[in-house]
């Protein structure tokens, strides 16, 4: 499979993870998109240096061709998948941890002795 195909597949996969598997719904939240807007600025900078200085070089046959700041446009999909998967996972881990500790703090029930 080409980089292009994999990149599209990765975006679809993280949307499924965010919306249906973890149900963190990050892509529906304002806080996510503002954070992503900040991240993408730094991604373009860093990616620009990485590809501009040939730290990474791409096989022309594996990509569509158009580039933004030296890097193939596929890198934007790659970056979106990376950031979205991470933030959905971070939200899920915190949802679980904070909800659990709040339950412990807010109720007067005895802690379960079975676990």
């Amino acid at each position: 499979m080409s980089y292009s195909a994999l990149a599209v597949l990765a975006v679809l996969a993280v949307l499924v993870v965010d919306l249906a598997v973890l149900r963190t719904r990050m892509v529906t939240r304002r806080v996510f998109w503002v954070a992503y807007a900040i991240v993408i600025v730094f991604q373009l900078l860093m990616n620009g240096v990485l590809t501009g200085l040939d730290v990474v070089t791409y096989e022309p046959a594996a990509i569509w061709g158009p580039r933004i700041a030296y890097a193939p446009v596929e890198d934007l999909l790659f970056g979106f998948a990376l950031v979205t998967l991470t933030l959905a996972s971070w939200a899920a881990v915190n949802r679980r941890a904070n909800t659990a500790s709040r339950r412990g703090l807010d109720t007067r029930t005895r802690r379960s002795s079975t676990r």
Binding site: L6, T24, V31, V34, F42, V55, E59, S89, N98
Partner: protein, 133 residues
Amino acid sequence: MGHLTYLSLLVGCLVVTAPLELLLRVRVYARWRRLLVAVLPEFVVFLAWVFYAIAAGHWEYSDTRTLGIRLPGGIPVEEVLFFLVVPVCAVLALEAVRKVTGWDAGYPAAPDDSGSIAARNERGADRRAEWGQ
């Protein structure tokens, strides 16, 4: 910069985002166990992707702009660090926006969280109003 090009970019990311933890106090590094658990799926999936991409010849790494330390599959050690550094920076960005705006991220704030800056400013404004200022 030669062999240190890639590594110094990663260090740059950590330096640029450090004030979010140190000054804005987003408590991301402070919750390092959660951070590790949260980053794990991304780390595994994307390293597997790079492993495949190198094998399939989708992209390759410079020997002169990396340290030259390669892991199995030809993955440069910097690339492994990339998949730790970049997600941590993304989490720092999210928590910073959440802290400043108070917008909902889908999970309750940590019990030891002093609240968003927006909420604190509002409380401050209320207090000033009470004091007739």
